[in-house]
């Protein structure tokens, strides 16, 4: 599998140097692997720190900036960052108002962030954590590591980021973040596996006539393999899987997210189908975001995330944001 890289070993460091070159508004410490907004710590503001394995770009580094994250810690490809990064990030952004860790629910992320909480608190930083676990493809959660964190991470980081920007205290910001988690559900499909630099080839084999239903964002196979489906059928399947778990009473934010290699042309076409199903099921759409936001390297496929929002969450979603990957408002 060809990649636009030098060697697998330096992929993450190289990307951070390239990010530093492109984004003077960020402080990118390529050696210690921490991306911090340049004006941090922001006085009187709760700071948001997230992180996770690399390979999901723009998540999380592309979401650092006013209105969203204060810092991000990228790990190796598909590998949780280490506690040292998180502690360093927390120290860099804490204004004294405390730090919220946004953690996607994977054993590695959970364990490393848990250690970081202890270490950061030892250093006198007040820390709260929120666990994102939105993927309805993972069932039987009491007997497993629980639901994965996927697309809802974007909603959590954006909305909690806006809450922090407004000056809410740590417990309120954490509560808003948890409300978003509780209101969000995702479902993903893969049309191809992805190739990690370390492996140098596809993480699994998928025949040209089949797709994987219920995949995560780390190149794992899904819960089920089926004969290839149309965009119409996939939208039905994904949305119904979500609605079976959470039937929104309020309007929803919709994220039609590309896994990395699916053309935007196809994602927009898929969004037409997602909107059709939601209309058919009587679910109101408040806002829609279409694009590659929570990716899986070069995987072809997509995920749908719905987040039901009250007036307050919608206001926070609409609030200004200025990051590399998400920008609006003033």
């Amino acid at each position: 599998m060809k990649m636009l890289i030098n060697v697998a070993e330096t992929v993450v460091g190289d990307a951070l140097r390239g990010m530093a070159a492109a984004h003077p508004e960020l402080v990118v410490d390529a050696e210690n692997r921490v991306i911090v907004r340049r004006d941090a710590p922001v006085a009187e503001k709760v700071a948001l720190v997230s992180g996770g394995g690399s390979g999901h770009e723009p998540l999380h580094g592309g979401f650092v900036g006013p209105g969203m994250l204060d810092a991000a810690c990228p790990g190796e490809v598909f590998t949780s960052p280490v506690p040292d990064q998180m502690v360093r990030a927390a120290a860099a952004v804490d204004s004294g108002s405390g730090v919220l860790f946004v953690v996607k629910n994977y054993t590695g992320d959970v364990l490393n962030f848990r250690m970081a909480v202890e270490l950061a608190e030892d250093e006198g930083v007040q820390v709260a954590s929120v666990l994102v676990d939105d993927d309805v493809a993972v069932t039987d959660s009491t007997f497993t590591a629980g639901r994965r964190g996927t697309g809802a991470t974007l909603f959590v980081e954006k909305i909690a980021g806006a809450a922090a920007e407004e000056g809410m205290p740590l417990d309120r910001v954490a509560a808003v973040a948890r409300q978003v988690v509780g209101s969000s559900r995702s479902f993903g499909v893969a049309l191809s596996a992805c190739s990690t630099p370390a492996k140098g080839g596809p993480t699994f084999e998928l025949p040209s006539c089949e797709l994987e239903l219920g995949v995560g964002i780390h190149g794992e196979p899904g819960r089920e393999r089926r004969a290839m489906m149309t965009s119409h059928e996939i939208a039905d399947f994904a949305v119904d899987a979500i609605l079976a778990d959470l039937r929104p009473q309020l309007p929803v934010l919709v994220l039609v997210n590309g896994m990395g290699a699916t053309p935007l042309l196809e994602l927009y076409g898929f969004n037409a189908e997602v909107r059709r199903v939601l209309d058919e099921r009587g679910v109101d759409v408040a806002r829609t975001l279409v694009g590659n936001y929570v990716t899986s390297l070069d995987m072809a496929g997509c995920s749908v995330t719905l987040c039901q929002v009250d007036g307050e969450l919608l206001r926070l979603w609409d609030a200004p944001v200025q990051t590399a990957a998400l920008r609006w408002g003033r």
């Binding site: 590998t79 949780s80 054993t107 590695g108 699994f204 794992e220």
Partner: protein, 211 residues
């Protein structure tokens, strides 16, 4: 690895800090050799990074132990564990880091330890892994190699290595209940757990340096 079963029983052995440094170096070497296999195993039921993770971690361990060799067995394991936590990430970093750190702390500050003491240390370490991971044998994780290995350490290092290897193989028919593989549900059946496999390598390295 079958010949390791022949390693002499060493309940009477006395192990110093240098022995533990050699163990870690041997572990780093065998993990280097087997990294691609570990990543391959992590591919159908995981995210294809376990080999690289372990390689990165043990390279860091080797480096720090060579630069500043600690004076006691306990200190070697604590330093190695801390290094794994600081350099691996993923699930395996905190878990293996905790295994070695807890084992090292249990060994205390003695300049030499017996094989029996090592066994209690590792046993405490394995308990800490189970607690941190909220996991148990049968979940298709590293514990399926670690638990039988520590039990067999009562007999010999070779027996421990063999038990770990057997434990790793025994994960094949299991359905994963923890870690990434659990997302696959029944589709996790039929694949060997990468973490159990790397645990077997650690015990193979131990038998090798004892041997």
């Amino acid at each position: 690895m079958n010949d390791m079963k022949e390693s002499r029983a060493v309940p009477e052995a006395v192990l110093d800090a240098a022995f533990f440094v050699r163990w870690m170096a041997a572990a780093a070497a065998v993990i280097d050799r087997e990294a691609d296999r570990l990543t391959e195993l992590d591919s159908p039921i995981g995210d294809a990074d376990h080999g690289r993770n372990m390689q990165r971690g043990f390279a860091a361990v080797r480096k720090v132990l060579e630069a500043e060799p600690p004076a006691t067995p306990g200190a070697v394991l604590v330093a190695a564990g801390r290094q794994l936590i600081s350099s691996v990430g993923g699930a395996s970093g905190p878990l293996y880091g905790t295994l070695l750190r807890r084992a090292g702390k249990t060994l205390g500050e003695a300049p030499e330890v017996s094989a029996a003491e090592l066994r209690s240390g590792l046993s405490a370490g394995v308990d800490a892994v189970a607690q941190l991971g909220a996991s148990a044998p049968g979940d298709k994780t590293m514990l399926d190699a670690l638990v039988p290995a520590v039990a067999a350490l009562e007999t010999s290092f070779g027996a421990a290595a063999a038990a770990a290897e057997e434990g790793a193989l025994a994960t094949v028919p299991m359905q994963a209940r923890k870690g990434r593989a659990s997302y696959l549900g029944e589709r996790s059946i039929g694949h060997q757990d990468p973490g159990a496999t790397s645990s077997a390598l650690l015990f193979a390295a131990l038998a090798e340096v004892a041997g």
